[in-house]
């Protein structure tokens, strides 16, 4: 038996849930956060290992092994702890408990396409990306040809990135990560962006590096892609491993659970059993589950609702939030059923409408005309779905802002009229 390339043992991660305090009218969690940090650093206070209401267990006692050359898929709903797991493996976050041993270099694609300098040439950008991944300059130079070939950008090698075809940054980022010759690759939602051809290229490359002995940990909501490329799948829900095993087995179990609605919602409580929200997802325009939308493409906010009594008419409200701002609410047509039925309903989000931001969609099911004794309309379940809208049209700077992003909560494409006044 070959020794494990990555072995994760009893890893837990706790995030304190802090209430934002208001200082002179500005909401901030600066004070409690700073106090926490100082306590830990100066007084060496260990994080409390108790499960309380003020703590979020993003990961709870997670253990698994990854062999060389294995492509492991990580699935689970939004907020299940998938990204936290990858961030711990990438050493961006440190675990609260447990330990991880990795034999080899790790290259992580946590936020693809960030860290590019539009004014530098393609080759210089490869150097920067390699440095960010912690690979020495000489090694990067050695794998430069391979990266250029993988990304299909050999003819553009000495051209500033901003003059390259759009989408080059993402493509180059992916190729760099794959071509750097590391032993472990961490990929978080890399397929969420880009067109079909790009996705196909990504999948092929993941398979190719897997075949060459690189271990890949691959987070995705795209079950079809997971089925195609992964040999083993880990299913995480609310910080715990639910199931780990051969791809088809785990993916089938996961989708069955998702459809049957046996997964408990992350937040909210069931006040009325008559209509329940089972799951919420973000779909792209081809109805494939994704974690992010691109700014120009349309998508759907999709949810499963179970209506179990004939006398109940259910309505789904979807609220769109940006940080603490409530942007709008849309309400579904009434849903009725003679017997217990599960419905799928989706609201269309047009392209060229949302801005480049991190949004939260709050799904809520209510029973029309039913009120609970307290007088508030019955809120059966609430589901929160965080998603990003990203821009793959313009090139991104080395720093965290896009160059020339339009500001505001949304960025609709509106028509203009221009006429001459006599």
């Amino acid at each position: 038996m070959t020794p494990a390339r990555v072995s994760v043992r009893n890893v837990s991660k706790v995030f304190p849930r802090r209430k934002a305090t208001r200082v002179r009218g500005i909401a901030t969690d600066g004070w409690p956060a700073l106090r926490d940090l100082l306590r830990k650093t100066i007084r060496r206070e260990r994080e409390q290992r108790r499960e309380g209401h003020d703590q979020l267990w993003a990961l709870n006692n997670v253990s698994f092994d990854v062999a060389p050359g294995e492509i492991v898929g990580i699935i689970g709903r939004n907020g299940a702890g998938k990204s936290t797991l990858l961030k711990i493996l990438a050493r961006v976050l440190s675990p609260t408990a447990g330990h991880v041993t990795i034999h080899g270099r790790v290259v992580s694609m946590l936020e693809l396409g960030i860290g590019f300098a539009p004014d530098l040439t393609v080759r210089q950008n490869i150097q920067i990306q390699g440095r960010l991944a912690g690979i020495p300059g000489k090694r990067v130079l050695a794998s430069e040809e391979r990266i250029l070939e993988l990304s299909g950008m050999t003819p553009f090698r000495d051209i500033p990135l901003r003059l390259c075809p759009s989408g080059s940054a993402v493509q180059l980022g992916f190729a760099t990560m794959m071509g750097l010759g590391s032993e472990v690759v961490l990929a978080d939602e890399v397929l969420a962006v880009g067109d079909t051809a790009f996705r196909k290229m990504c999948e092929e490359q993941v398979e190719a590096v897997g075949a060459s002995g690189v271990s890949v940990l691959f987070v995705s909501h795209d079950m079809a892609a997971i089925r195609r490329i992964c040999s083993r799948v880990i299913w995480i829900d609310r910080g715990r491993i639910v199931q780990i095993g051969p791809t088809d087995e785990v993916v089938n179990a996961y989708t069955t659970e998702l459809l049957a609605g046996r997964l408990l919602p992350l937040t909210g409580e069931t006040l009325a059993a008559s209509c329940r929200l089972l799951a919420a997802r973000l779909l792209d325009e081809n109805h494939a589950p994704v974690g992010a939308l691109t700014i120009t493409n349309a998508g759907y906010l999709d949810c499963l609702v179970r209506v179990s009594r004939p006398d109940v008419t259910a309505l789904v409200d979807v609220e769109l939030w940006l940080e603490e701002h409530h942007l709008f609410t849309v309400t579904s047509p009434p849903i009725e059923a003679p017997q217990a039925t599960t419905f799928r309903t989706a609201v269309h989000i047009p392209g060229d409408f949302l801005n480049e931001q991190q949004y939260q969609a709050r799904f809520r099911v209510r029973a029309l005309g039913h009120f609970d004794p307290a007088g508030a309309p019955t809120t059966a379940t609430e589901e929160r779905l965080d998603f990003r809208v990203i821009n793959v049209q313009r090139e991104q700077s080395v720093w965290n802002e896009w160059t020339g992003t339009s500001k505001g909560f949304i960025s609709p494409r509106l028509t203009w009229r221009l006429s001459r006044v006599q």
């Binding site: 600066g30 956060a33 940090l37 990438a90 976050l93 675990p95 270099r105 936020e111 960010l132």
Partner: protein
């Protein structure tokens, strides 16, 4: 395949020795970060890199003009005021400019830190890059002032000899004290932006509590010890001035200053190394 490094991630923060080892492993990152920090300032400005040159020269011209033409200061060192002033200011400026940059460097490199691992201690060290560029520039300015004074007075105001080596510990001392104050404030600046403004104002006020624009003889004999005891920069600036143009140097105060400086520096590095492990949650 060549020898593969083994990475062990523990819940407990790594030991200080392991941290210093990884600092060495990731040394190539220092150049990359420094370049990014220097270029970050230039991005989106009209004059670009020239700001690095302009920023330190503007106060030099203003202060020299004020204390020679508006309100002349008697330096009693037998050298023109401009030479006297710059001989201390070049070292002082290291401290002031580093304090200007350090609280901001952490926020600037946040997006890099969010997606890649490297020892975070490299960030404040890379933050010294623009300061060192300014220092090199001020050395040139000092040379120009010295040569023009030599040319007009016929007498070289610079004391050439082994004492010039005193500039080296003065520069190192100023860099250390800037890091001592800069590292914890850079951590706090991640939580509160106020820190940047506060530290900048602090630095400009602090200059007048240090014998930079005036000679130390301006301060009455009986209060001088207080300045040296509470302000390590005072002895550092004096050392810089002594090594360039001569004058008196109190070895006792100098030793006191360097002792405080080294102790505070070690404490500050220790704080940063410990805080480092918990910064990830905050980014």
């Amino acid at each position: 395949m060549s020898a593969q490094p083994t990475i062990i991630i523990e819940a407990r923060p790594d030991s200080v020795a392991a941290r210093l080892r990884s600092l060495w492993q990731y040394r190539a990152f220092l150049g990359f970060l420094s370049k990014e920090i220097v270029m970050r300032r230039a991005r989106g400005t009209l004059l670009g890199f020239w700001w690095v040159l302009l920023r330190p020269l503007m106060p030099v011209v203003t202060l020299i003009f004020t204390f020679t033409s508006v309100k002349p200061v008697e330096t009693s060192a037998g050298v023109p005021y401009s030479v006297f002033f710059l001989s201390g200011y070049i070292t002082w400026r290291i401290f002031q400019s580093a304090l200007n940059f350090l609280p901001r460097t952490m926020t600037w490199t946040q997006s890099i830190m969010r997606r890649a691992y490297f020892p975070r201690l490299l960030v404040p060290f890379a933050g010294l890059a623009p300061t060192l560029i300014e220092f090199a520039l001020l050395l040139v300015a000092f040379a120009v002032v010295v040569v023009s004074a030599w040319w007009s007075d016929g007498q070289l105001p610079l004391r050439v000899g082994w004492q010039l080596l005193g500039l080296v510990p003065a520069v190192i001392g100023a860099l250390m004290f800037a890091l001592t104050i800069g590292m914890p404030t850079a951590v706090i600046a991640l939580f509160f932006r106020d820190m940047r403004y506060a530290i900048r104002s602090f630095a400009s006020v602090f200059m007048f509590l240090t014998p930079v624009v005036y000679p130390v003889t301006f301060i009455p004999e009986q209060y001088r010890w207080a300045m040296y005891a509470f302000n390590p920069m005072a002895a550092i600036v004096e050392l810089s001035r002594w090594s360039l143009i001569g004058g008196q140097l109190n070895a006792g105060y100098l030793a006191l200053s360097f002792a405080t400086n080294i102790i505070l520096f070690v404490l500050s590095v220790a704080f940063f190394l410990r805080a480092e492990a918990y910064l990830g949650d905050q980014l």
